[in-house]
Amino acid sequence: MTLQASALAIGDVHTEVVVDDLTRTQIVQYSGASGDYNPLHSDEMFATQVAGFPGIFAHGMLTMGLTGKMVTNHVGDGRLRSFGGRFRAQVWPGDTLTAQAEVVDVRNDDDGVGVVELRITTTNQDGLEVFAGQATASID
């Protein structure tokens, strides 16, 4: 699936639930795949007694990875030109995250190739923004 310039309008939104009831095991799975074994993300004893957090929490990059799934589902495979953002709040086990892409611009690049610019926001079940950023992708 790729996006067509003619079918895109500023303000169009695409939304996906990217994780429902995030499990501790998925956070561990991300530690293993990414190589980031910071015990803050898997070691309850360390996270609470040493680091002083209420519990373990997800890697920011797991939130971004989950969000990226929505972005690539929306723009199509191999279309992404840039993707970035800020981690605005921690994500905890049990959280359900909804990621949204909103069209903010449709233009042609210097080579005349269509580009869509998206505003990306990911919120938890309480409506709190946990990730906010932007993405650009090539379109037809």
Binding site: Q26, D43, F46, G60, L66, F83, G84, F87, R88, Q90
Partner: protein, 183 residues
Amino acid sequence: MAVERFPVELGHIMMFARSVGDPNPIYSDEEYAATTEVGHVIAPPTFVQAGVQFDPDWPLRPKIGEPWFGSGRNPTGTPRPEDGGGSGGGGGGGGGGLARGLHAEQHFEYHRHLRPGDVLRAETRPGKTWEKEGRRAGKLLFSETITEYRDQNDELVVTARSVGVRTERAPEAAATAGSGEQR
């Protein structure tokens, strides 16, 4: 992060895609991928972050024969390295965060899409640093790192910009402050 050799492998891409809950067959099925516009397996957008697997000095991975700062018999195995792997030096891993250092921002620019068989080299350099007054955790110290991933032909494939933030006061303050303090 300085990684001399980051081989991009099909199995690693599949495991990474699973860990972010993405069942898209473009990340695992070569036959399917061959039928797509891209024509080959690619990696999910944040995959290069897993390049730390190939950094021999990556501080956020237990190493054979060395003490680890997570819990075993005791809540902490060893005094935490004050700054190791934190926002500044850890590089591409980005501020990923020991207790007082958190990952604040991450940005990727894709110059082409990865494929299994690529062999990348990653070099990280420091970027800007700045300060901001936090609402509850005191002064927030931001530092940026830029990581360039180049392929076997020395072509730039991905540019990553990571921002780490460190707080002046105890992490509890930052944790309870919620969203505002982590920016």
